[in-house]
Symmetry: C2
Subunit: 218 residues, 2 copies
Amino acid sequence: MPLSTTEENYLKAIFSINGANDNRATNQLIAEKLGVNPASVTDMLRKLDEKRLIDYNRADGAKLTKEGFKQAVKTVRKHRLWETFLVNNMNFTWDEVHEVAEQLEHIQSDKLTDELDKFLGYPKFDPHGDPIPDANGKLAVVKSKPLPEAGVARKLKVVSVTDNSTAFLKYLDKQGIALNDSLVIKEVVDFDKSLLVELKGRKEVFLSKEAAGKILVD
Amino acid sequence: MPLSTTEENYLKAIFSINGANDNRATNQLIAEKLGVNPASVTDMLRKLDEKRLIDYNRADGAKLTKEGFKQAVKTVRKHRLWETFLVNNMNFTWDEVHEVAEQLEHIQSDKLTDELDKFLGYPKFDPHGDPIPDANGKLAVVKSKPLPEAGVARKLKVVSVTDNSTAFLKYLDKQGIALNDSLVIKEVVDFDKSLLVELKGRKEVFLSKEAAGKILVD
DNA sequence: AAATATAATTAGGTAAGCCTAAGTATTATT
DNA sequence: AATAATACTTAGGCTTACCTAATTATATTT
Ligand SMILES: [Mn+2]
Ligand SMILES: [Mn+2]
Ligand SMILES: [Mn+2]
Ligand SMILES: [Mn+2]
């Protein structure tokens, strides 16, 4: 039986919380990410556990099973392919795509997904620098770290952003920061950890610790 | 407030039953078209009436209001644009698109709809020969009639089909009948009203009354 | 260890959209 | 006009996915 839109969203949320380091997906983090009440999360996690899409218990939180992982990756694949399509072919900007992709990711047609992938030329990354899983679920592992954790005076490259909100992405646009831009941290302001950054060897901009933390570099 | 997927489907069903001649959309016809129970239809028609998207009463059935009509046309526009996209760009055949378009038609983004329209080159007709409403809701009126109502020995053109099921469309493929093909009725078999038809001035095929009735010609 | 804060669960509800079975209108037939 | 057939509505329920408020379990402080 196909998963409901809601089930897919829960699996995707758990997937993104687990992340690369298998972080514990707690009831509360999931509730926050999906904008629902923790009590509702309890219900759904039980249901997903019963369907063997996750393993759930109070101590370890929710962990995707093999099948749950497969389903989550499939939804992520669709999300990122559609975002790429919207930017590449529908004249959307990177701050406009997320909401629509949240809808498009639930379209059920393997043929469409794979044809879209082909049409786009099998892209490896989406407009936010996130890797796109291929038809077998394989996705590129990119080594990167939040900007504040990178060293001063080293030449860095913007690899991706961890906040896809319009507000944040428009802010980056305004600062003149885009994917693949090169930058160098010139100075870390001591009392608030904000960064003075040189962009593409020219412009210098200040970034708050909060904003910088959402920019992944390599 | 945006309409639910279900509400959109009801409006679309009423739209297609009303058709060009304003046929009465009865409880039963709607139930049949949507594959639900007539009792469920009663509930929903009440709700749509309260929302002023239709006028409903037992005698006249359901009739779209101005607003309901606008919404229905919008959904139809999306459905037909997506079908065109699937055939033109995603290597779908005309018998494969309907199901997927049933999902895609509910994606809410005017920008996407209009960009898609532009991307496709503002197509006037979908893969089944149905007219695609433009951004203002205007749609081409095509004069056509069911093949059995056309005269014998007149040169006709296939304009559209009224059954979008895979089964029927594959049958047409097999018979070698496609949109815009020219044909001539050579003979009407008296006892079962089946037709002997000459295709593109060459091949001759037999069509049952039932099949022919689903082919619109001009 | 006790007290307090935080996290998760339970209990009881709601709304949308569907169902079946039974009842009431309406229309068609005799 | 009476009867039968067809169409529609009502009544009562179900499932999914939510909610709030109250309770219980687990961590964290003191
Ligand atoms: Mn996104
Ligand atoms: Mn993205
Ligand atoms: Mn269709
Ligand atoms: Mn069509």
